[in-house]
């Protein structure tokens, strides 16, 4: 602790240079926090996938529908103990930027297969018995201030009605919650019957089936059995585990992980040179001062640690500011990341990266300071 004023003073010897370097590192760590936060949120979704659920979708692409008639055949496969379905409704509320994740479902089957989505029994009954009824996730309700009893119009970018319009109206009859991950309760679920009767095309089809299996170890065999059932039909299927399905969905957006790693890697590579150069320059300018420290009894190791301490203080302080900024901004990215707060793992990774950055950029000048020959340095020969 007693060396901190000395380290701090060394850091601020050239105030402007330190501020500019600090700002560069702050921006880099803010970018790291935001990008890695999105990546981590997606990854969390994949890792949290339910091992008992399979997804049956059209082999051509997941946007192609499947016949409703497949339901009974899938239900008859040994090992399957529940089937539900969903379709992609593709809607926004009032303005195209207000995208809403909305899906027509069979309410009973859906909430049976997704026990993590908690919906009170009376609200489930209300959904079943209200043709235009809809239940929404608690996060979605919070976002738009919707409540039970509200009459909500949504505009579908895909599904038109026979009169050519694409505006659908719904009555909110329930709000579900996901206690384990409240931030994921963002869906808008409504009755498939209302959807199927109201649409002008595609009647008798569903987007995909969700299958619950009793034994996850038999997932591969059941997957194969289901796909074999529909082989050589006009709508062949591709069955995936929930985890594979989530990964496949994210791949449609691009290889997020690769993009994040590439951008963050490029930023940190640049940062290495910037910070390394600042540290080297700072030490070069202070050779006589370091020689004086050694003269009055600071050992080679103490001098090395002082210089490393400066690099560590600069990188850690900047990383903390950058990650704090990312934490403040992150809730605004809820629609992209699906979570409201920066995951702790990202903050820990950021601090780890700051320590690594400090070691890599601080070690060469620290070693130079350690190796200083006092007599040469005092005589200005180094």
């Amino acid at each position: 602790m007693k060396y901190i004023p000395l380290i701090w003073a060394g850091l601020w010897r050239k105030r402007a240079r330190t501020i500019f370097t600090l700002l560069s590192i702050v921006v880099a760590f803010m970018l790291f926090g935001l990008l890695q936060g999105v990546n981590s949120a997606f990854d969390k979704g994949i890792q949290g996938a339910n091992v008992n659920r399979l997804y049956v979708q059209n082999r051509v692409t997941f946007t192609e529908p499947l016949p409703y008639s497949y339901l009974s055949q899938i239900e008859s496969v040994p090992g399957v103990n529940g089937v539900a379905w969903m379709s992609w409704f593709g809607t926004y509320y009032q303005d195209p930027k207000n995208f809403v994740f909305s899906f027509p479902v069979d309410a009973e089957r859906y909430f049976d297969l997704y026990p993590e989505d908690h919906l009170p029994k009376d609200q489930l009954n209300a959904l079943i018995h209200t043709r235009t009824g809809a239940v929404i996730g608690s996060e979605l309700a919070k976002k738009y201030g919707w409540k039970i009893g509200d009459h909500i119009p949504l505009h579908s970018t895909i599904w038109t009605k026979p009169d050519g319009t694409s505006d659908w109206t719904f009555d909110i009859v329930g709000i579900y919650e996901d206690p384990q991950d409240p931030a994921r309760a963002t869906q808008f679920l409504f009755n498939h019957t209302y959807f199927d009767e109201g649409r002008s095309f595609g009647k008798g089809t569903v987007g995909w089936y969700i299958v619950r299996i009793a034994d996850p170890s038999k997932a591969a065999a059941i997957t194969q059995t289901i796909d074999n059932l529909f082989a050589n039909s006009s709508d062949e299927t591709r069955t995936l585990t929930e985890k594979e399905n989530a990964q496949s969905f994210l791949k449609q957006l691009g290889d997020i992980n690769f993009m994040v790693t590439a951008i963050v890697g490029a930023v940190f590579f640049t940062l290495l040179f910037l910070t390394g150069n600042t540290m080297m320059q700072s030490i070069r300018e202070r050779i006589p001062e370091l020689a004086v420290l050694k003269t009055i009894g600071f050992s080679d190791l103490s001098v090395l640690l002082l210089v490393l301490g400066e690099a560590l203080m600069l990188c850690l302080a900047s990383a903390i500011l950058g990650l704090a900024a990312a934490t403040a901004i992150f809730p605004a990215m809820r629609d992209v990341a699906g979570v409201v707060s920066l995951p702790m793992i990202v903050i820990a990774m950021g601090l780890g990266a700051a320590v690594l950055l400090a070691l890599v950029t601080g070690l060469p000048p620290a070693w130079r300071a350690r190796s200083l020959n006092i007599v040469d340095a005092l005589a200005g020969r180094k």
Binding site: K2, L6, W12, R13, V292, G297, I374
Partner: protein, 231 residues
């Protein structure tokens, strides 16, 4: 009083390119405790080299070097650093203060290497600044002080850990006559009243006259001094 510095047959050789250059030739010197010694000689005579050896900043090529009861020619670098912290106070020609630290923090530097607590360090710093007459300048940075005041801060830094020996390399070389006399007077006081052994390298005969003894070097050898010569 016994010797605080004892050199026996000390040789120092530097390599200039591939050529060895002997800077000090088989020196035998004894400096008693409590002495105020002026080390004089022309440029290149080896006086700063000798001072560096005595202060433990450099190692002799040959010979025995005992300072403050320790054979320092045998000490490895880490132990030598600790030894310097305990036994030696340094005063340089250009003060060599840390520009970003105020006077108080500069003086405190040697005490960071001790086990003293913060309050005790503060007390010792205040005492050292009072001895050099700069108690009221404790919060000033070097850039806010005159050359003479900076050298006083440097002397306070050299004194604060209560070393046995003060080594001063041209301590008045960068000061005007009047300020130089003040600094030399201060060194004299430290020697007389605080019983500090002082070794001072200087070109200046007027500065050397403040010392109790003078030692003259020429081309790496001790020569007879015209006045106040070493015994």
């Amino acid at each position: 009083m016994g010797s605080i510095v004892s050199l026996r047959n000390v040789v120092k050789t530097y390599m200039r390119g591939k050529q060895p250059v002997e800077v000090l030739h088989h020196l035998d010197v004894e400096i008693p405790e409590g002495d105020f010694l002026a080390l004089m000689g022309p440029s290149g005579s080896g006086k700063t080299t000798l001072l560096n050896l005595i202060a433990g900043l450099d190692q002799p090529t040959e010979g025995e070097l005992t300072v403050a009861g320790e054979r320092i020619d045998r000490l490895p670098s880490g132990k030598l650093a600790k030894w310097r912290a305990r036994n030696i106070g340094f005063v340089f020609q250009f003060y060599n203060l840390m520009p970003m630290l105020n006077a108080e923090r500069n003086v405190e530097l040697p005490l960071l290497l001790t086990s003293l607590g913060s309050a005790e360090r503060k007390r010792n710093v205040a005492a050292a600044l009072a001895i050099v007459g700069l108690a009221d300048r404790a919060k000033h940075k070097p850039s806010e002080l005159s050359g003479g005041q900076q050298q006083r801060v440097a002397i306070a830094r050299a004194l604060v850990a209560d070393p046995k020996l003060l080594v001063c390399d041209e301590p008045t070389g960068d000061l005007d006559r009047e300020t130089a006399d003040e600094i030399l007077g201060l060194l004299q006081t430290l020697n007389r009243e605080h019983h500090k052994t002082i070794i001072m390298v200087t070109h200046d005969q007027r500065a050397a006259d403040f010392a109790t003894r003078q030692l003259h070097l020429d081309k790496g050898r001790l020569v007879e001094s015209p006045q106040k010569s070493a015994a």
